[in-house]
Subunit: 226 residues, 2 copies
């Protein structure tokens, strides 16, 4: 199962308009941020790269490389000031502001996401819910009334929402995405098991839950054959 | 926002017992597999690397590098035989078999996961549900009765479950993980917003939903400042 000369992962950007920071680095930035917020809550005022990496299982050298991207924040022998590092990471990630988010497809996953406090804590505010099921329209979930998709353009305009979460069934995903794009949404977090076609200016992050489970199976599988 | 000389992402493995294939490659393997299964459903018998990469937004060269890991499957000018490539990917990922999975923490997210057909299609079978809330024990969800955590060891032994999905609140995650590890579980898919400490032989994949939304915000943010 071992590959003697594995292909290296290139930085994510394929096209010219993508950021040079790889998506893997961005993922680690989020993890650092989460960990640092925990440490700040415990009153920790400076952290070392080792301390930060340890709980996350990320090697010291990788942490230092990643954080070098943020500029000269660390002090030799002292570490990084927790508050400054949090602020720099939030600015780099674009979460030093709040984002309005609309959600389309109000099933169990949507209900779970609406109760998930992590979004709010990171500045993501779900401002409106949409579903094409007439039977659901008007129902309230976590204080928000479910609206029909025909309301989408005016709600996006009125709230200034830039991001959308898509939790519809796979076969409805492209149509829902088209409506969101037409309404002016600029980024889609897609949970539907579907390959979406979007214009170049709209960003997409897809979460395929079966992929996550496959990654785990792979790690267990490889662990057991070595 | 651009980095003139971005750090490259090393292959994921930090320790000596990890596979050399990077986690990013494994993630792409899953995406190729999903796409190929779709193409096979449409009757496509051979595919080119370009065809495979296009819908996924992955460059041709990267697809060829990744698939080279599987051995010599492609034929110049003809492409890859769809069925053989699916079989090779399933074997490499460890999903050419079925996996029994237990789930701990039966809230909205768990209910969404239980209704998610993708797991079953990829050979993942959720065989038992656990919750520490006495009020939930005995309730049936998607045909499975919710059991108390004290039943875990015997159910894991009886079903031969190797994987677990953890959908408990963050503050209960470590305790639940400890019970699962003691019961013999070898891989954990963790949705709880918590950093888990696990013995080295137990594999962990964590899905932090706020991290996914942050990645999207980052892409939109960077797109807008260029």
């Amino acid at each position: 199962m071992r590959n003697p000369d594995p292909p290296r992962d290139p930085p994510l950007p394929a096209g010219g308009s993508e950021p040079r920071l790889s998506r893997a680095s961005v993922g680690r930035f989020s993890l650092y941020l989460r960990r640092l917020e925990g440490l700040r809550g415990e009153g920790v005022r400076t952290v070392s790269s080792g301390q930060l990496g340890e709980a996350l299982g990320i090697p010291d050298t990788q942490v230092r490389k990643d954080l070098a991207y943020l500029g000269n924040l660390g002090h030799r022998g002292v570490g990084y000031p927790t508050g400054e590092l949090i602020a720099a990471l939030r600015a780099a990630l674009g979460v030093d502001r709040s984002w309005s988010v609309v959600l389309v497809g109000v099933g169990n996953l949507a209900r779970a996401l609406l109760r998930y406090r992590g979004f709010q804590q990171q500045g993501f505010h779900i401002v409106a819910l949409f579903d094409s099921d007439r039977g659901k329209i008007g129902q309230r979930v976590e204080g928000l009334a479910i609206q029909g998709p025909e309301q989408l353009p005016q709600v996006v305009a009125a709230t200034g929402a830039e991001l959308a979460i898509l939790t519809v069934p796979g076969e409805q995903a492209q149509e829902a995405a088209d409506v969101l794009v037409a309404a002016g949404i600029r980024g889609l977090l897609n949970f539907a098991p579907a390959v979406l076609r979007l214009p170049a200016h709209v960003r997409l992050v897809s979460v395929d839950l079966a992929v996550q489970l496959e990654q785990l199976a792979f790690l267990v599988h490889v662990g057991s054959t070595e």
